[in-house]
Amino acid sequence: MPAQKILLYPHPILKTFCNPVPAIDDEIRRLVEDLIDTMRAGPGSVGVAAPQIGATVRVCVVDVSASRLGKENNHGLLVMVNPEIVRREGDTIGREGCMSVPDYTGDVERATAVTVRFLDGDGAEREVAATGFEAIAIQHEMDHLDGILFLDRIVSLKTGLFRRKSYK
């Protein structure tokens, strides 16, 4: 399948809570292929979620193996159906951008490590413990499934440091 067009905010689908996938059928398999092709076609893209190409189901793909930040520490291509984070640890702030919100980047707080449980493209249950950039990419793509954009999570270092009034 050819790469699909990435929906841009303010498209309403990007703010939609996506439905769980009841069973992996041909339609879901086609969607997974589309997501992979779309991710591969995006310059430097390391993940795409179903709502970004117009499907409101809980499916996303992540592959940070070709990126500078992720190449040393990754699980290769992750096809995630109905993903759930079962453990998160630590926090870090990194500057993120998103294909659906072009021309803007912002500082976002994420867990440094996550364990995510999901069905892979063949319907097998998997659990993956991801750290570093791969963990950030997984959290970013999974947010899309809840209608959350990185804009919803922007934090300001300045505010965090300077606006604290009391330690009591």
């Binding site: 430097g44 993940g47 300077f162």
Partner: protein
């Protein structure tokens, strides 16, 4: 000529003793004039509230006209307003091209912290794109904090910047950390 080509742009700064109503007052003046706020940053510095806005308007008018429109508000709230007309090119945001880094500097308060860091950066064509400073700590032992974001020229690395700042760190007896904040596209 497209609509965008014909826009008139101004950089407007508004400063005054902090109180409720400054943002509403200033943006109200601009709204009634039909100006669009294209970019802005407002914050409290000490007890002063300060706003910097890049505004555009469909029809060219003079800086004097804009200042005139602000006169009533300035008198009412004790604000100082200045206006700088911009060409379309000047008003355009250009994303920094080099690698971005965030530099945190902190230590006992003393004159010259910002200057020494900025001077080294200027010598090496490192472009400061954002800079904030604040005095924290206690009255008896004030701690000066500076955070700046800089875009590095081609070929320069975050490690080189860290090495460069190591010298200043010793000279000023402050802590300095440098980290890459080059955005990741997801």
């Amino acid at each position: 000529m497209t609509r965008k080509d014909s826009l008139a742009h101004f950089a407007v700064t508004v400063v005054g003793k902090d109180r409720p109503g400054i943002v509403a007052g200033a943006t109200g003046v601009l709204y009634r004039l039909g100006c669009n706020i294209e970019d802005s940053s407002s914050t409290m510095l000490g007890g002063e509230f300060s706003m910097i806005l890049i505004v555009s308007h469909e029809k060219p008018f003079t800086k004097g006209r804009l200042l005139e429109e602000f006169r009533g508000l300035c008198d009412e709230l004790g604000l100082t307003v200045s206006v700088r007309p911009l060409t379309r090119d000047e008003a355009q945001y250009r994303a920094p091209e080099g690698e971005l880094c965030m530099v945190s500097v902190y230590g006992s308060d003393q004159p010259g912290i910002v200057f020494r860091v900025a001077q080294e950066f200027a010598r090496r064509s490192i472009n400061i794109t954002d800079l904030n400073t604040k005095l924290i700590g206690t009255k008896e032992e004030p701690v000066y904090v500076m955070m700046l974001e800089a875009s590095l020229p081609d070929g320069a690395t975050v490690e080189e910047v860290a090495a460069l700042l190591d010298e200043i760190k010793k000279e000023l007896n402050v802590e300095i950390s440098v980290r890459s904040i080059t955005p990741v596209s997801l």
